[in-house]
């Protein structure tokens, strides 16, 4: 939890582990005691290779959390009319449509023969995605569908939380990152701080909102609404350590089947945000899904930033002194 911090803690505070880099026990860092004293860190592994784009997660999240609608816009850009995560969209299913011509540089692999036949949920498409690289074709033309249910990453080093001046954003005992609506004053600092563009201020309300990782359900020992609603187990909820192992196994399995484009995103505890609490298996570069390829928490540079602010302030003092030197008129 955020607590007033004495300035004497400054050098410790801006050090590696606190603000960036590997941190194995986020709850301990947030003051929840040893790993015996708090529950394990919970998170999501979203395996996009089995996502069918049904948006059950989006709906379940809206329903459970009573998130207001955010307009009924048709974008015309794809099947994705939700468009992005935001104050009133805590799960967002991205639909990437790659006609084969445009993926010529990265040709899709032949669908492996030994996979279970995909279920047709009646999604509009050129055919049923047949392979685990989500490619399908009919006749001359083909399309590769990439569907991915995006969500707040519940970063190990969460910039939104670090910059929040009111303490509205806090780390829960499950290691997740949650806004307290009764404290948030809508300063909006968390919005440009998030390297993934997740959190936003809700218009008309004035406060910031994002995925809570269903904090209320977790406290009752239930799984999050979106994971519960997912029919393909694309959204897997569980203890982060266990999810990471499961993801490694799944990746190896896909690579064995020749789906070389599969890669994990946000799984590495050494990455720019110290690893994500909600991480992904993707079938293309992150930016294709609207994810930053190499996000770094802004607070990694905070020590340098404050140092330069100090030097800037000292320069201004110097300017003040110099102004009163020299001739009187």
């Amino acid at each position: 939890m955020s607590s007033p911090l004495g300035m004497s803690l400054l050098s410790d505070l801006f050090s590696e582990g606190r603000l960036w880099g590997r941190l194995d026990d986020v709850q301990h860092d947030a003051g929840y005691g040893t790993s015996e004293e708090h529950p394990p860190r919970m998170g999501f592994f979203t395996d996009t290779s089995v996502c069918i784009g049904c948006k059950a997660c989006e709906v379940a999240c809206k329903e459970w959390n009573e998130v207001p609608d955010d307009g009924y816009l048709l974008t015309g850009m794809s099947y994705d009319n939700t468009q992005e995560l935001g104050a009133s969209t805590w799960r967002h299913v991205a639909f990437v449509e790659q006609p084969f011509e445009t993926v010529a540089a990265r040709p899709p692999q032949e669908p492996p023969v030994d996979v279970a036949p995909a279920v047709d949920l009646g999604m509009p498409s050129l055919g049923v995605p047949a392979g685990e690289d989500q490619a399908t074709s009919s006749g001359e033309s083909g399309v590769r569908w990439l569907m991915s249910s995006d969500v707040c990453k519940h970063c190990t080093h969460a910039a939104c939380l670090d910059v929040c001046p009111t303490g509205a954003l806090f780390r829960t005992e499950f290691g997740t990152v949650v806004v307290q609506p009764d404290v948030c004053n809508g300063c909006g600092y968390c919005v440009p701080a998030c390297p993934y563009g997740v959190i936003d201020v809700r218009k008309g309300d004035g406060r910031a909102f994002k995925c809570t990782l269903c904090y209320d359900r977790l406290k009752e020992g239930q799984q999050p609404a979106c994971a519960q609603a997912c029919p393909t187990e694309s959204i897997q909820f569980g203890e982060l350590d266990e999810l990471r192992e499961r993801a490694d196994r799944r990746l190896a399995e896909l690579h064995d089947k020749g789906v070389d484009v599969a890669r994990l995103y946000g799984r590495d505890p050494e990455d720019g945000v110290g690893g994500d609490g909600a991480f992904f298996l993707l079938l293309d570069e992150p930016e294709v899904y609207g994810l930053p390829p190499d996000p770094v928490v802004t607070t990694r540079d905070l020590g340098t930033i404050w140092k330069h602010v100090g030097a800037g302030a000292a320069t201004l003092v110097g300017l003040g002194v110099v102004s009163f030197l020299g001739r009187r008129r």
């Binding site: 959190i199 190499d294 330069h308």
Partner: protein
């Protein structure tokens, strides 16, 4: 380095999700926030001018600078509170002191500064409690420089490429720009025979500001592009031109002509305003365009992969 097309980073190919932004554009409102950046700089640097004027016996300069410090802080606070989604919860800013949040640190600078600068100005105007007034003024002068420069951390400690990548230069831009505004305002309102420190502050501040802003353009590559092009680019150019004209006029005739002093002072203030709006808008532009996020991050990934390939290969 030549400006314009020749110095622009060549167009780069990158992938994105239908060209949509990756980052959220800051929800901070304009003019509230850029105005606050300007007023904080004006007030902070004015508190220094006021203290210097008091120490060296320049009552007219002291009066104007004290009012600028108090007025700037008060108006800045109004702008900041107005920007909040829930203004009635402004005091939640003072619930905790978080060194990781420049906005939190800044609130703990702004609140006492406003009080002290207000008390010093009130004492100066009314002539009451002169000793306490001076003490308050000294306190404000101690908090003034951090007030003028912490806003650089406010912008830089975000994921916004144009702001974050300029984190080494922005504090100097803001400090110099604040000195320019404070000096400029005093040049407009103070008789020539007491305005020498104001002129020197504006001139020196302008030099620091221009050097730091140029250094962003020279050193920050693609992340500096938003400062050159489009509306923010025009604002930054306007700021630089105003600063150059005002500095030339001040150096040549600022000491002799009241009219020149007033016009040059107003031009300095305009330049400082344009700088703040330009920097603010450049940040917004860099958050809107996924290019500024994807291209440098992709380069980083490639460099790392290259390095590890070399090590294993």
């Amino acid at each position: 380095m030549p400006r314009g097309e020749a110095s622009m980073v060549p167009e780069v190919e990158f992938e994105s999700y239908y060209g949509r932004p990756i980052l959220k554009e800051p929800t901070w409102k304009t003019p509230d926030v850029p105005l606050y950046l300007f007023l904080g700089g004006l007030a902070g640097a004015s508190s220094l001018l006021a203290e210097g004027a008091a120490l060296t016996g320049r009552p007219d300069l002291e009066r104007v600078a004290r009012l600028a410090a108090a007025g700037g802080a008060a108006a800045g606070t109004v702008a900041l509170v107005h920007d909040l989604g829930r203004p009635e919860r402004f005091l939640n800013m003072l619930r905790v002191l978080k060194p990781t949040s420049p906005l939190s640190v800044g609130s703990f600078i702004l609140a006492p500064f406003s009080g002290l600068a207000g008390a010093a100005a009130a004492s100066d105007l009314t002539g009451r409690l002169p000793r306490l007034g001076r003490l308050a003024g000294a306190g404000a002068a101690a908090l003034g420089p951090p007030l003028a420069t912490y806003t650089a951390a406010l912008l830089a400690n975000t994921a916004v490429p144009a702001w974050h990548e300029a984190h080494r230069e922005l504090p100097f831009v803001f400090g110099g720009s604040g000195a320019q505004a404070a000096g400029g305002l005093a040049m407009m309102l103070v008789p020539l025979d007491q305005a020498a420190p104001a002129r020197r502050m504006a001139l020196a501040g302008a030099a620091v500001e221009i050097a730091a802003a140029e250094s962003i353009l020279l050193r920050r590559g693609l992340a500096a592009e938003p400062y050159r092009i489009g509306m923010p680019g025009r604002l930054m150019t306007m700021a630089r031109n105003c600063t150059a004209v005002a500095s030339a006029a001040t150096a040549l005739a600022g000491r002799r002509s009241r009219l020149v002093s007033v016009l040059a002072g107003a031009t300095y203030v305009t330049a400082s305003l344009a700088t703040r709006f330009g920097i603010f808008e450049a940040g917004r532009a860099s958050a809107r365009d996924p290019k500024y996020v994807v291209v440098p991050q992709r380069e980083r990934v490639r460099a790392r992969q290259g390095a590890s390939a070399k090590m294993t290969g």
